[in-house]
């Protein structure tokens, strides 16, 4: 030990120094009080000092007083040297802060003992101060506030950490604040009561949790522990304890609680199956939806491995299942869960068909699975949502099929047909010996049947056509060399197509077409109706293929159209010239649209004469098209186009207006010689226009045409399409005061009905009767009967297409009133019409046949 000896007497110094050195101490010597004080105030001063009472410069007691006046973390142990028996000095020394005293001359044993006491005391102090320092350091580093309160609950001590934990320095708490003042965030009164009860019970308490509004403005959660401190008499001195900031823990706990509640809510309320799996693929939790999916009780599933819990078998072929493996490698369900657990990767809306054993039976539901990794209690888990989408998948499949099926007949539709056709095209490009053909079928008279007998009957017909078509195509399997299935499909309306897939030779297509024509030549029994609807078939073979299915269908359609034109109930094989014809027609259509504006259309007039007098009764206005490049184009060629495109309506109106205007002009220029009336054809398209009577009235007004001078010609077929509507329209037109002529009379099925139904003024007997009138008695008899009937009904008769004098003579004999035809005149341009006169003597049988030109 480091010891100071302060004595002014050198011999005494030496004696003491010698003695203490021999005891093992390190000795430093001072010869007066001042020196002693300086030594004791060094940075590392002696721990024990022996001070002589009386010294020069400064006495020992003064040194003592000064040392004790200055606070020191390690105060020295001081022994006073006094004269033997000087009690006053001893008392004064002890009061000034001396630890012990020693009388001079000192007794060696006593000195050794007293220094030993000092040394032990210093060691104890050292120990206590280290212990305190240790405690302080620990206390400052922890997030736990150490505190003491008195019996009333006031803080008597608070460690420095209070600043961090409570947001309040200790000196603001000590002596001023109750333990329960630290608690504004919960019910203060209840908390204070709790604390008072605790203090009254004098029991230790643990984990007293409360919230503190700290000076930083945050709310801190505190957990306090406390031990009662008792006085020797058993009364309560206070409590000593610690308060720990558990805010983070509390928040984490709260977060965990919320998450667990959320998870629970998700499980119970989810409309889809839910699974929670631990890292060994054990089912930690599941919901009843999932249990129902595999027809099990929830309890049967829980705590099982996923493979056993769900009865997962990796294939139906080995229903013993996946064994003991936690996830089977072949099962997509197990695989996706395993991926989530081992790689932490999420799965979203993965759809697959795992093999499950449900009620002992293999079952392959379609499942949609979403899985994501979650960490629970520090371990990886997988949260899995399982939705049974089997029904949806079935519905999707149904929709997919429906999208490719014709609803009426159940046959493939255009989309499916085009798919297969496209495949055939590709195959034919790869395999030179592969052949296919497309047959395009259109059913003659279908529209008439549909319109006249109703859509229900029309649909019935389509279904029967479908049945026959499918049966015939199947029976034609012998045509197929490569065991491919032919496809028959309905494109819509009465259009059907057949893909003959894998023909031995393209020529086989014609054999199939023939077989179909035969099948469709038979009549159909549709309820009470027996109807005929022959087929027109267009054929395209891969000899002349287009690259796309749509182009092939177009070509087949073209060929079908050719077949129809060539006469019904036939087939026609597509060739390039057909495509050219179609192109030509398309060009014509474009040109026709411009023809009206550019005045390429014009009228010609064919006279209608009295067969008795030769007087001109009327002119029939006939349309012509002067094409700038192609010259004169026959109405036979362009009127169907006009009808198809709707151009027939403006053209018809133009014709009517032009004819009326011409008539008025003739009246003005020719006077008495002018024709008495003008005949204009109405097309069937015009007849369905509700506004037609108004249009006619307007044109009459515009041109100044007298209604009774205008004859409007309608064909029997045009009015019979919808007889009721036509009757209504014809009466409306008749009400304008114009005359109605029935054109092509005798060609329809219900000619006689016309006479009764419609307010007719004139019948024009069809040229087919007139052509044959002198070739047999029957025709002449028919014409005679018509003339007689008309006469009785007060209807006048015109014979059309008179070409020979013999025909004229017969008609004169039959007392037919009027006629027209090449015998008298072909249609004339307006300028020529005014000059027209019947050749003299013609009516008297003086001329031979006029010619054989066809009337148009």
């Amino acid at each position: 030990m480091h010891v100071l000896i302060a004595d002014d007497d050198p011999s005494s110094q030496t004696i003491l120094a010698t003695f203490l050195t021999k005891l093992g101490h390190e000795v430093v010597v001072a010869s007066n009080g001042q020196e002693a004080l300086e030594i004791l105030q060094q940075t590392s001063p002696p721990r024990l000092a022996i001070l002589d009472w009386v010294m020069p410069v400064m006495d020992g007691i003064e040194v003592l007083r000064r040392i004790r006046a200055a606070p020191s973390p390690r105060p020295p142990y001081i022994i006073m040297l006094t004269s033997r028996g000087n009690k006053a000095d001893i008392i004064a020394g002890l009061e000034a802060g001396a630890n012990d005293y020693l009388a001079k001359p000192f007794d060696p044993g006593e000195l050794r003992a007293r220094v030993g006491v000092g040394q032990r005391m210093l060691e104890m102090q050292q120990h206590a101060s280290e212990s305190a320092a240790r405690y302080d350091q620990l206390a400052e580093q922890s997030s736990t506030v150490a505190w003491e309160v008195n019996a009333d609950g006031f803080y008597t001590y608070v460690s420095h950490v209070a600043l961090q934990v409570f947001g309040c320095p200790p000196d603001e708490l000590v002596g001023r604040v109750h333990l329960y003042d630290q608690h504004p965030a919960l019910g203060r009164d209840a908390f204070a009561q709790t604390v008072r009860t605790l203090l009254a019970r004098r029991q230790p308490f643990r984990n007293l949790e409360y919230a503190v509004q700290t000076d930083h403005g945050r709310v801190a959660w505190i957990a306090a522990h406390g031990l009662p401190l008792l006085n020797p008499d058993g009364s309560l001195r206070g409590y000593r304890g610690s308060s720990t900031d558990i805010t983070e823990h509390k928040h984490a706990e709260e977060q965990l609680r919320i998450e667990q509640e959320n998870l629970k809510a998700i499980f119970t309320s989810s409309p889809v199956g839910m699974l929670l799996l631990d890292d060994q693929s054990n089912i930690v939790n599941a919901n009843s939806v999932l249990a129902n999916m595999v027809s099990r009780e929830l309890a049967e599933i829980l705590h099982q491995r996923i493979v056993t819990g769900l009865g997962c078998i990796h294939s139906l072929e080995s229903p013993q299942g996946c064994g003991v493996a936690s996830a089977c490698s072949n099962c997509p369900l197990c695989q996706s869960v395993s991926n989530v657990l081992s790689h932490g990767s999420s799965v979203r809306d993965a759809e697959f068909q795992p093999a499950l054993l449900v009620n002992g039976q293999p079952h392959r539901p379609w499942l949609s699975i979403s899985a994501q990794p979650v960490t629970l209690h520090g371990r990886k888990h997988a949260l899995v949502a399982v939705d049974d989408i089997t029904k949806r998948k079935a519905m999707e499949e149904e929709l997919r099929a429906a999208a490719r099926t014709d609803r009426l007949t159940g046959m493939p539709n255009r989309a499916l047909f085009c798919d297969r056709l496209q495949q055939a095209v590709l195959r034919s490009q790869r395999q030179p010996d592969y052949h296919f053909a497309v047959l395009f079928l259109d059913f003659d008279r279908f529209k008439t049947i549909n319109d006249s007998l109703g859509h229900d009957v029309g649909d019935l017909l389509l279904r029967q056509i479908s049945g026959r078509l499918c049966a015939t195509v199947r029976s034609g399997d012998s045509l197929s060399r490569q065991a491919r299935e032919h496809t028959a499909a309905r494109l819509g309306g009465d259009e059907f197509v057949v893909l003959l897939d894998g023909l031995a030779s393209p020529g086989d297509a014609a054999i199939a077409a023939d077989r179909l024509l035969q099948a469709f030549a038979q009549p159909y029994q549709l309820g009470e109706h027996l109807v005929y609807s022959t087929a027109s078939i267009g054929i395209v073979t891969n000899i002349m293929p287009s690259d796309s299915a749509e182009d092939i269908l177009r070509d087949a359609d073209t060929a079908m159209y050719e077949a129809k034109l060539a006469g019904k109930g036939q087939y026609s094989i597509f060739n390039v010239s057909m495509r050219q014809r179609v192109q030509k027609r398309l060009n014509l259509e474009t040109d026709l649209r411009h023809a009206l504006q550019t005045q390429q259309l014009f009228l010609m007039y064919q006279p209608i004469l009295s067969l008795q007098t030769g007087a001109i009764e009327s002119f029939e206005a006939l349309i012509r098209w002067q094409h700038p490049q192609r010259g004169l184009i026959s109405p036979v060629e362009f009127i169907p186009i006009a009808e198809d495109t709707g151009l027939v309506l403006p053209i018809g109106e133009w014709v009517l207006r032009q004819a009326c205007a011409q008539f008025i002009q003739w009246q003005e220029t020719m006077g008495q010689a002018a024709p008495r009336s003008m005949s204009v054809n109405l097309s069937r398209n015009q007849l369905v226009l509700p506004d037609l009577p108004n249009t006619i009235r307007q044109i009459l007004t515009e041109t100044g045409m007298a209604p009774e001078c205008l004859h409007l010609e309608v064909t029997e077929s045009a009015v019979m399409k919808d007889a009721a509507a036509a009757t209504h329209m014809l009466h409306a037109i008749k009400a304008l005061g114009v005359k109605l002529d029935m054109d092509d009379f005798g060609t329809g099925y219900s000619s006689l009905a016309c006479l009764q139904e419609f307010p007719l003024d004139v019948l024009k007997i069809d040229r087919s009767f007139i052509t044959n009138i002198d070739r047999g008695r029957d025709f002449a008899a028919l014409v005679h009967a018509i003339i007689q009937l008309a006469g009785n009904l007060n209807i006048r008769v015109i014979a059309e297409g008179i070409e020979t004098a013999a025909q004229l003579l017969t008609l004169q004999t039959l007392e037919c009133d009027f006629g027209q035809g090449y015998l008298f005149s072909q249609p004339l341009r307006a300028a020529d019409a005014t000059a027209f006169r019947v050749r003299p003597g013609l009516l008297e049988g003086q001329s031979a046949s006029f010619g054989s030109e066809h009337a148009v």
Binding site: D9, T14, I15, T18, D52, V54, L81, S83, K104, P105
Partner: protein, 137 residues
């Protein structure tokens, strides 16, 4: 062997316990006890003492002449302590008499004690010198 005390050495250690008996001039045993029987240090301490004490006594003499009683008491006190430590019991006792007289304010008594003090020191010095000479041989 030369006696170093007025009475036989055998009684030296018991002198303190017997106040009636005259004080020892030099209690060598007590001093050796304080020095843990180190004869070498004993000689060194004696040398220091013999060198230092005459000045102390001179200082006391001078103070007595000035009549500063408090200073006389302090100086007497120091001599008393130093002598006691060295085993110079009779010198210490003489110094104590001077101290007491000065403390009482009795300058005359203090001056009168000076003769005994110097006599005791002379005696002590002689014994100690002998001691030093003896042990050096």
């Amino acid at each position: 062997m030369v006696p170093t005390q007025r009475q036989p050495p055998s009684t030296a250690s018991t002198s303190a316990a017997n106040p009636a008996s005259p004080a020892l001039i030099f209690d060598k045993a007590a001093l050796l006890g304080r020095l843990m029987d180190d004869e070498h240090i004993l000689r060194k301490v004696l040398a220091i003492f013999l060198d230092h004490m005459p000045r102390q006594i001179e200082d006391l003499q001078r103070l007595l002449e000035t009549g500063d009683l408090a200073a006389v008491a302090r100086q007497a006190h120091s001599i008393k302590g130093a002598a006691a430590n060295l085993g110079g019991d009779s010198l210490s006792a003489a110094a104590l008499d001077a101290e007491h007289a000065a403390t009482r304010g009795d300058l005359t008594a203090a001056r009168e004690s000076m003769a005994q003090l110097q006599a005791d020191f002379a005696q002590l010095k002689r014994v100690m010198t002998e001691e030093l000479q003896t042990t050096t041989t």
